[in-house]
Assembly symmetry: C2
Homo-oligomer: 238 residues x 2
DNA sequence: GAGTGGTCTAGACCACTTC
DNA sequence: AAGTGGTCTAGACCACTCC
């Protein structure tokens, strides 16, 4: 015999999901506080949180640490086979992109970066860290490791937009080939902090290696996305 | 001032993650029961579960309903730009694939399927539901909606392997173009049951439309993956 | 029948945000 | 100072699995 009882947290989850779907709450609206929900539905606060965390993993709501729960905006469409940059892609979908440079530095490549960038011992790399936003809300943090000898002086240029364009315009470097790997994974603590989400919340990890026309590695990029911020779409011709 | 206290559930999560990484437990090994962990680490069972659910969302452990928590195997590599089928892909990675046909039927296309398959009112579709496994463990459930008039009699053939091959060999249909959309999302209840996971656990939803050489829609496929079962990798040439 | 995980309660204290 | 979410306790009962 199957258990036919519907748990309270599932009912609350569905109730809230319906309200959101029905448009009773708009993107970025704040939900009632956990204690209010607890009173309204006469269930324990732990149970309320269980429902909210379900909705979070569905991408319907997100939270700001110690500030509350909010309705998620629609996902951004991302086509990894398309070379279009973040700024253009977001704009094309009728939303407002922005970029914050978190840090930029020239360092001696770590062993790990040396492998990824195919560098020898002692060679230099740039490390560029950026946070990117849609409609004023952070959606990803990225760490871009750059082969410094291919683009000396890069850090003095404008780095908010497409690096691919900067490489082409300023350094005559064409990105000829890109390798991408991605999978769902929780955000590491440092990146979670920067996205103002709690460590361990679901995320999407995307890594990208870019090669120039001579098949040198130009950049190795790690992107830490909010898991509810994007949807991957692509087209393949055989 | 930042809070420097490390929560118990984070400590337990890290402890278990280290044990797994160190190889103290192999793929599909059962973890100690929640009550054993509670005793061992002298924390509440709710807190133990919090740690386990974190590990689940990281893809390090999975659970079988009411049976326990187990160590996850490595992720399958999946290249959406590569036409290679599931069976071949799994084999190529040194693992053992299998397929279970859950149901197959010929039905009048629903409105929703009519749109996806670009069919007129009253036209027929096949619905094929399969579960696919790696090393004997279910990793996905798929619902394949098929344009019946392009491949009449399909359901009488062997359907465990690559449909793309069946189309080519038996119906002279070449899959010329594929559109894929995917995003992290929890598994719907029905699919969760079939994968023996609890409804609402994290998953990956992948939808695929296949077009033939005349740009007719041949199939529309919904795949419900365990979120920890795969990693997406692809290469793009510009 | 013993053991497991799934659900739930009624509290508590804390760090942090908001006012 | 009041309110919020984050963490945690010490129980409880249930459905189901395993033996």
């Amino acid at each position: 015999m199957k258990d036919l009882h519907i748990p309270y947290y599932i009912r609350l989850r569905d109730t809230l999901a319906e309200q959101i779907a029905a448009g009773a709450m708009a993107a970025h609206d704040k939900l009632p506080s956990e204690r209010e929900l607890k009173e309204s539905y006469d269930i324990n606060r732990v149970t309320v949180r269980q429902a909210l965390m379900q909705l979070e993993s569905e991408g319907l709501v997100y939270r700001l640490i110690r500030r509350g729960w909010y309705v998620s905006p629609p996902r951004l469409n991302y086509d990894p086979t398309n070379a279009i940059g973040f700024m253009q892609n977001v704009s094309a979908q009728g939303r407002v992109p922005s970029t914050v440079i978190l840090s930029k530095s020239e360092i001696v490549a770590t062993q790990w970066a040396r492998e990824k960038l195919q560098l020898g011992a002692g060679e230099k790399q740039y490390l560029l860290r950026r946070r990117r936003l849609i409609d004023g809300h952070s959606v990803l943090v990225e760490h871009i490791h750059i082969n410094a000898k291919l683009c000396s002086g890069l850090l003095d240029l404008t780095l908010e937009g497409s690096l691919t364009e900067v490489f082409k315009e300023q350094f005559d470097l064409k990105i000829a080939r890109v390798e991408i790997t991605m999978y769902p994974a929780p955000l590491p603590e440092a990146q979670a902090d920067e996205l103002q989400v709690i460590a361990g919340t679901p995320g999407l990890l995307l890594m990208r290696s870019s090669y120039d026309q001579h098949d040198n590695v130009v950049t190795f990029d790690q992107e830490f996305w909010r898991h509810d911020a994007l949807q991957i779409s692509l087209q393949v011709n055989n």
